[in-house]
């Protein structure tokens, strides 16, 4: 079995994001970059499937600048067997990413694509669904549990929706997108980092894949969302109730 795991390079979740003075992007000075946390969860799940099923190859793929090698090496240090970097220096929207991933999928022919439900930079939550549509294969999004028995032709998934938990069965091959509660990604060990240096990292371009990666989305400018200011501290329940009744008039 082969599992393809896309890994996006994003500012670390702990970073305080600031828009640059020109409003053309975010401040990148001193910003630490990581694997998108939802993608790390997807990779962890692929590793656990391999631990359970045995014969599984895990291929990590990233799209972007040369710097994405860092996240691919980190992914291989976690446990991916090899990595592909699709070099593309311009920013990409979800549909363009899905088209590139579809080309990688056709080349690799995996049984499963496991990826994060959204990237924490653009918060788009679209690439997995679009990829499944382009390939005409099934999807299960926002997964918090996954069962894939050996030689099974379908994967049973527990999905987290606004209405509650939903269980669906999806035919393989399929695209599965990971939610937070699926697992807790393992830490990378020193031995893992050493091993990752020797694992193959292959580079290609969108032209090599024959994909038109023109984005439909054009970001004109960015600005910080309006910040709320701290209000007042009240000293007692009575004072709070008085404020809510007479000042805010919300109860």
């Amino acid at each position: 079995m082969k599992i393809l795991v896309p890994l996006k390079r994003v500012p670390d979740y702990d970073t305080k994001i600031r828009v640059n003075a020109a409003g053309s992007g975010i401040e990148t000075d001193g910003v630490k970059y990581s694997i998108n946390p939802f993608d790390a969860i997807a990779l962890e799940e692929a590793i656990r499937l391999r631990e359970g099923l045995g014969d599984v190859e895990i291929v990590a793929v990233s799209i972007g600048t040369e710097e994405c090698q860092e996240q691919l090496r980190a992914g291989m240090a976690m446990g991916a067997d090899r990595a592909l970097l699709v070099r593309h220096d311009a920013s990409l929207d979800s549909l363009a990413v899905a088209k590139i991933l579809a080309a990688v999928y056709r080349r690799e022919q995996p049984n499963l694509v496991l990826m994060g439900k959204q990237a924490i930079d653009d918060d788009a939550n679209q690439a997995g669904q679009m990829l499944a549509a382009l390939l005409g294969i099934g999807q299960a999004t926002f997964i918090s549990k996954l069962e894939l028995p050996k030689d099974a032709k379908q994967v049973v998934c527990c999905r987290e929706t606004d209405a509650g938990l939903e269980t669906v069965s999806v035919q393989l091959p399929a695209v599965i997108t990971a939610d937070l509660r699926l697992n807790e990604p393992r830490y990378v060990t020193a031995l893992g980092i050493m091993k990752a240096k020797k694992k193959p990292l292959e580079e290609m371009t969108t032209a090599d894949l024959g994909v038109d990666a023109t984005s439909r989305t054009r970001v004109l400018s960015l600005r910080m969302a309006p910040q709320r200011k701290a209000g007042v501290r009240v000293k007692s329940v009575d004072e709070l109730l008085q404020k809510l009744r007479e000042e805010a008039r919300v109860i």
Partner: protein, 330 residues
Amino acid sequence: MTNPLSSTKILIVAEHDRGHLKLATLAAVCCAQQVCQATGGAFEILVLGEQVADVVSSLAPYGAAVVLKADHSSLLNPVADQYAQVISKVVKDRGATMVAAAASTFSKDVLPRAAALVDAGMLGDVVSVTPDGDDFTFERVMFAGNVIATVKLDGPLKVLTVRSSAFSVPTKVDAASPVIDVSVDSSSQSGLTTFVSREEKPSGRPDATEARIVVSGGRALKNSEDFERLVGGLADKLGAAVGSSRALVDSGITSNTLQIGQTGKVVAPDLYIGLGISGAIQHLAGMKDSKVIVAVNQDSDAPIFEIADYGLVADVYQVVPELIGKLGQK
């Protein structure tokens, strides 16, 4: 002079929970009304499901050119590949130039799939749509709600989900929209994904995305009995919905349907009361657009106090019973 965008045709994909209209859909209808008013365009509403007559009639008084009803047994559950197939066909048949729905797990599952089927770009969590010459400019939120991006979406068809907190209630009109049945060919349904089961919603309380008041609990609540007694008790006294931070969902104290935050529900009620919630950036992303925020927390340095209108540094176990008791009196 006619507006270059007068041929705008918006298709709203309605969301319902087994026949009960999700009120967030009305925010998407409001967005469509605003765009049509500014451009001279028109909008239509699509309802998918089985036995959706009530949803269709509740959407009739908002001035849609038509309400399209895709009523079929294969659409009982919102399985993405089946829904996306029907939506993409309706988009083509009706000549839509824009598709919109409320930002929710339903739309986020189904709409990107439909967009890719018709080769359209998509924007999620849109907070404004502005006609701009012969095109539109959109604003959407990124980075856990911290950044607002001004964007263009190229191509003849634009797909979006809108944040309901950014739009208000749509205007009612005198005449009811005509209803057109959409034929659903069950033999074309792919069956790639099969719905197995769903865990029913546990409480009779309102949904946090639809309530005027939300009472939310965090790490200070030690177990589900305390959560029910304190957070639930206060909510019931106020006729409010309950919400939860991720910490309580992870520790099994609350259900995932209650989670508010970047990856949970986004709420913007008139009053949000956070009980024992420290206010991680991911939680704030889900509630900072509330009109009035109250925070009760023992830790006076908790980040939630930086955005709260009224902060009370106190132990929730002590003050919430007092709050519940005093709400009975005037």
